[in-house]
Assembly symmetry: C2
Homo-oligomer: 316 residues x 2
């Protein structure tokens, strides 16, 4: 079977959208004409999470967080979530409790509700979460496709923490006294959706936005192609998670490449008009340019774009 992207392309060719839907497959969330946004993301044990490293709470948190991140990337606020739960025979009732307690805690922190779903037997633990959100009055959802050459590209925080946390989890003997160890592992196991940042960026006039779920370069490439422009990412300007550099050195990985291609951070990447006021909580990492659609990674002005831009879940 083909990769995820190819299957989605195949599906998108089969389905059509009708009013009141204005945006269907291809953005972080679908959009209705009243500012309603809808996103669905699945989390499967062994693919996106691992019951060996992720606690039930981390799995529940992650399944909701990745969907909130999609809502954040539209500049919208989450309202309601539905959870489809595929339960293997090995899952205990206590584990179900812990998963939903973690989802409820995250929902409560965002003033939203887990409103329903479905439970079914399944050979593998599967959480399929849908989140409905809404934009604030006067603000349109921010698509991937609205960027223009000349816009600056900003990210909502330092990158690479999640991928670095995964390196630590894969080799527990790695720098056992590193101060940032726990924070990096937590970044991997319990990603934080940037809902407030998404709202601020929409209010600041972001022309295009995407969440960095699969790596800065891959998601910048998606934003650039959707907008029909080029994207230049200056690796020298990419903010790097504390502790990443030490782990990169200890494992022989390139620091910038780890930060710019490691997925799972769920920060936001947005395009802002060059005239937009600077926000000190955002880091400028590059710009949109005329030319062939797609991303280029630059270091000291040289093109250093790697072959592998980020993390795509490939199917067997």
């Amino acid at each position: 079977m083909e990769g995820e992207i190819e299957i989605i392309r195949r599906i998108a060719a089969r389905v059509g959208i009708r009013a009141p839907v204005t945006v269907g497959i291809g953005d972080d969330a679908a959009v209705l004409d009243d500012g309603t946004v809808l996103a669905l993301d699945m989390v499967v044990d062994g693919v996106h999470v691992r019951r060996t490293t992720h606690s039930p709470a981390a799995i529940g948190h992650t399944a909701l967080a990745v969907n909130l991140s999609d809502i954040a990337a539209m500049g919208a606020t989450p309202v309601a979530a539905l959870v489809g739960l595929g339960v293997p025979a090995t899952l205990t009732a206590d584990e179900v409790d812990e998963m939903y307690a973690a989802m409820e805690a995250l929902a409560a922190a965002h003033g939203m509700s887990v409103v329903g779903g479905d439970v079914t037997a399944s050979p593998v633990l599967t959480l399929s979460v849908t989140v409905m959100g809404r934009t604030s009055p006067g603000l349109a959802p921010v698509l991937r496709s609205g960027g223009s050459a000349g816009d600056v590209l900003v990210v909502s925080g330092p990158l690479g923490a999640s991928a670095t946390g995964l390196l630590i989890l894969s080799d527990p003997a790695l720098l056992p006294h590193l101060a940032e160890r726990d924070a990096l592992i937590t970044a991997h196991l319990r990603p934080t959706p940037m809902v407030a940042h998404g709202h601020s960026l929409a209010a600041a006039g972001a022309t295009a936005m995407i969440d960095i779920s699969d790596g800065l370069l891959l998601d910048a490439d998606r934003l650039a192609r959707a907008s029909g422009v080029g994207a230049e990412i200056n690796l020298d300007m990419v903010p790097i998670a504390a502790g990443l550099e030490q782990i990169a050195r200890a494992t022989g990985v390139d620091t910038d490449i780890l930060a710019a291609t490691g997925g799972g951070d769920y920060h936001l990447l947005a395009a802002l008009p060059a005239s937009a006021p600077r926000n000190p909580s955002l880091a400028v990492v590059g710009r949109l340019v005329t030319g062939p659609p797609g991303v280029r990674a630059l270091r000291g002005g040289l093109d250093v774009t790697p072959d592998r831009l980020g993390w795509e879940h490939l199917l067997g």
Copy 2:
């Protein structure tokens, strides 16, 4: 692990609802204060469908249809669907095409859109579908809980076709010349959601409504308990699918019990005030009564309630 119902009870105890949500877990769909309704139902190969008997088109159709049925049971109209697809290595690209073509055909027939979703590797074919719907201006969503003693109970059509179709599929040598054979098999493989009936029932003043996904008696029991009243179903009055009687006789199954406990029909069961005008396309099957909450099946005035009220997917 416990049964589906027990797990849902456990989950419902963990999560709270917040405005603008007015109804969370426990009805056919969740409800927001503006009349938005949200439902999620999963279809897993080997649990709800079988790749051995269901074509890819039948699986795609069923996954969307069961969700449209939940929207119909609220008296609402479907607007948008999201599909989470868990893809096993054995699924071909053509099978994906056929599944989504069937979903698109059903979506188009209802003027709604498949707007997005997710694709992931999975050991078993899984479709997790969410549908968002809306009520018409001036109509509130019809809950399970609004019924009162004295209301009449009506169903939107003859029952037992799906369960009878399953009996035929399980024993292909059964009455090979029965005229209704293909129609009964189709009822099992491609259920029809009763969206127009749901809308009419809401407009006619239905006080409570549920879709008959798991059998008339079990779903009547749910409606009665949610409404805090008893429900009497007169088996003599239950309309029976054409061909069911012959198959029941050939297999030694009780005709009324097959019609009243066989799941998968996706007709609607609604409570209407006794004063509501009679609609000839609906069949009266009983009434809500004072007394202990729950269903009783009557035949010739005698209580013949079976132990097993319907079909509940039990977990291993």
